[in-house]
């Protein structure tokens, strides 16, 4: 069953004669529980595609249905709520709030979903335990290494058990060992908790554990490679 269906997605920037067409009509289906990597050279449009699928941006044309909801016509408020309740994000540079401890960073979306303080604390601590950061609950982001910060970001993404996790080049700022650990974590999440993961990466070795790789070039999908069965 498809959890993401995108039809004829186009995204352009600028106006009049200065329009840049970044996505030129993309059709994508992603099945529930699938781990998909989007790859391509710089400027291929892979991140832009991910922003459309992850409800962070609105396509110029096309239709996107995520978890049964047509997200294109949602209001800003509805998009925010949708992201909160359905999606999890791992950004390239961790994107943690510097004033909050690791635990508090993870608690934010949980509290926003209406969970009480105690339950949110328990869930965030458990998520930190799951990513191998037990005992670092009270550390500020500045007191953690890059790899640890990215693990906190993953813990934040998984703590509220979202249906889909979007990871935008999650290994880009990490050394190879930390990068591998992050990919292992995402793979483990996908395998054990059957969460759908959509990851943008430009390093093929990090994409070897995924179900499918989508290759992009100049704003279109040029190839798909199935690595393993769902």
């Amino acid at each position: 069953m498809n959890i993401i269906t995108a039809k004829n997605i186009k995204r352009s920037f600028g106006k009049d004669n200065l329009i840049t067409h970044v996505l030129r009509g993309i059709d994508i289906d992603i099945r529930e529980g699938e781990f998909v990597a989007i790859m391509g050279k710089s400027g291929a449009g892979k991140s832009t595609l991910m922003y459309q699928l992850s409800v962070l941006d609105t396509p110029t044309e096309g239709e996107i249905v995520v978890d049964g909801t047509n997200i294109v016509n949602l209001s800003e408020q509805e998009k925010t709520e949708f992201r909160l309740n359905t999606l999890g994000y791992v950004f390239q540079d961790y994107a943690l709030v510097p004033d909050l401890s690791a635990r508090e960073n993870i608690m934010m979306p949980l509290l926003m979903r209406g969970e009480d303080w105690e339950k949110a604390t328990q869930k965030s601590d458990r998520a930190l335990d799951d990513v191998g950061l037990a005992g670092k609950y009270l550390n500020l982001p500045s007191e953690l290494s890059g790899g640890e910060q990215q693990r906190v970001a993953i813990a934040r993404a998984i703590a509220s058990s979202p249906k889909i996790i979007f990871a935008d080049e999650p290994t880009a700022n990490l050394d190879s060992i930390s990068g591998e650990q992050i990919i292992e974590l995402l793979t483990k999440l996908n395998r054990e908790q059957h969460q759908t993961v959509v990851m943008v990466t430009h390093e093929r070795e990090y994409a070897l554990g995924v179900h499918r790789i989508i290759y992009m070039e100049d704003g279109v999908v040029v190839k798909e490679e199935k690595l393993r069965e769902l």
Binding site: Y51, D57, T80, R83, L111, M112
Partner: protein, 415 residues
């Protein structure tokens, strides 16, 4: 509610993790703004309040009894005084007789009888020296000489505005006699009657009414002015609790005493121009203070704007992971509230813990008053509320401007 909870967490943590120096500086600016708002108008109003307090202390007391509009004197003064003496709420009073006369000095040394005489038109006040001193502390206002002795006759106290050497600092405003010292002889002429007095003392006060008076014992006044009915012109009363003066007046009126005299509280007796000046000073002070508020609100706006702008990407990420925009705005409003509350609390502590007591002990010396710092807690509270609300708005607007930006643009740092 959820947004409030998240906003509180974010706001508190931002305050907690902010640079101590920056936070201290912002709080200091807010404290100065608060002081500017309270102290400037407080000192301006305090000048008038100081004058009012001086008049209340040295001249009029808490309740003022004067003649009815259609009468020359307070009717049945003796009975009136006997009645008020029974009021337990009244701690002391003084009965005054007042009239005009001509004071002449240096007449014994005058050789040229065709030359100008050294005279001044004066207000003569007949008092019971003991009662008056108990009521207004008149005996403590002497700059030269001694106070009247109730057992002596033929002595006079003169206010400084009638003496050229003292009054000349105010220009040629007052009608004066010159070269007078205690022990000198002067004469007072009322109609056809002239009586000599020895100057017993010279009185100086912040209150014009005292400086523009001459005092003689009431017995001599009644004889000089032929006031044999013993009806006085003014009775001033001090109540045990000054703030209870209105109820004392009400009680006196209920007893029917207002048929004999006009009975007013000190506040009712205040001249309208004084109230107008006080209100004008208050408005002026508030206006000057308002400039301070505008400066502070701009400061807060810039601080919050820079703060929010430097965290634009984090704000985008928070929105990206599903945090409501309101929560982010609340976080910045909480910061602004923290600055306003801390600054105002410090300002209030400084005002009521130090400045008000200091100016009470060391009033600012003005010719017409001992200037105090007037900081009525109720007015202060209202001004604080204004400062607080404006600060919140100044904190909200930049947060709103940044938080409403496109989420993805904020995350990617795009314009």
């Amino acid at each position: 509610m959820r947004s409030l909870r998240i906003g509180l967490l974010l706001g508190l943590r931002q305050i907690q993790r902010a640079s101590l120096w920056t936070t201290s500086l912002i709080i200091f600016v807010m404290m100065l703004t608060f002081l500017n708002l309270i102290a400037v108008s407080g000192i301006l109003v305090g000048l008038i309040e100081g004058a009012e307090q001086a008049v209340r202390k040295s001249a009029l007391g808490d309740v003022v009894i004067t003649t009815l509009d259609n009468q020359d004197h307070i009717l049945e003064t003796n009975s009136f005084v006997r009645e008020i003496a029974t009021y337990p709420e009244i701690s002391t009073y003084s009965v005054r007789y007042k009239s005009g006369g001509t004071l002449e000095a240096n007449y014994k040394e005058r050789r040229d009888l065709s030359g100008e005489r050294d005279t001044a038109a004066v207000t003569v006040t007949g008092i019971d020296p003991i009662q008056e001193h108990a009521m207004t502390g008149l005996g403590d206002l002497l700059v030269e000489g001694e106070y009247l002795n109730p057992n002596e006759e033929g002595y006079i106290l003169i206010g400084i505005y009638y003496i050229e050497e003292y009054a000349q600092q105010f220009g040629d405003v007052f009608d004066t006699v010159s070269d007078i010292s205690p022990g000198d002889t002067v004469r007072l002429t009322v109609g056809d009657i002239t009586k000599e007095f020895i100057v017993k003392g010279i009185i100086e006060s912040k209150v014009d009414e005292v400086n523009l008076a001459t005092y003689i014992p009431e017995r001599e006044f009644r004889r000089l002015f032929n006031r044999l009915d013993r009806n006085a012109d003014q009775i001033v009363i001090r109540t045990v609790e000054p703030s209870d003066n209105a109820s004392v007046v009400a009680s006196m009126k209920a007893s029917g005493l207002d048929a004999y005299a006009k009975i007013l509280t000190y506040e009712e007796n205040l001249p309208k121009f004084l109230i107008d000046i006080k209100n004008t000073f208050n408005v002026l002070g508030t206006f000057i203070g308002s400039i301070g508020i505008i400066v502070a609100s701009i400061t807060i706006f810039i601080i919050i704007f820079i703060n929010a702008l430097s965290r634009r990407r984090h704000i985008g990420i928070l929105k990206g992971i599903g945090i409501d925009r309101k929560a982010i705005e609340i976080a910045y409003v909480i910061q602004a509230a923290f600055y306003a509350l801390s600054g105002s609390a410090l300002g209030a502590l400084l005002t009521y813990g130090f400045l008000v007591p200091y100016f009470k002990e060391n009033p600012i010396q003005f010719p017409f008053s001992d200037g105090i710092l007037s900081a009525d807690p109720e007015t202060t509270f209202y001004k604080f509320i204004v400062l607080f609300i404006i600060t919140l708005i100044a904190g909200f607007i930049p947060a709103w401007l940044i938080a409403k930006q496109n989420t993805l643009n904020a995350i990617l740092g795009r314009k």
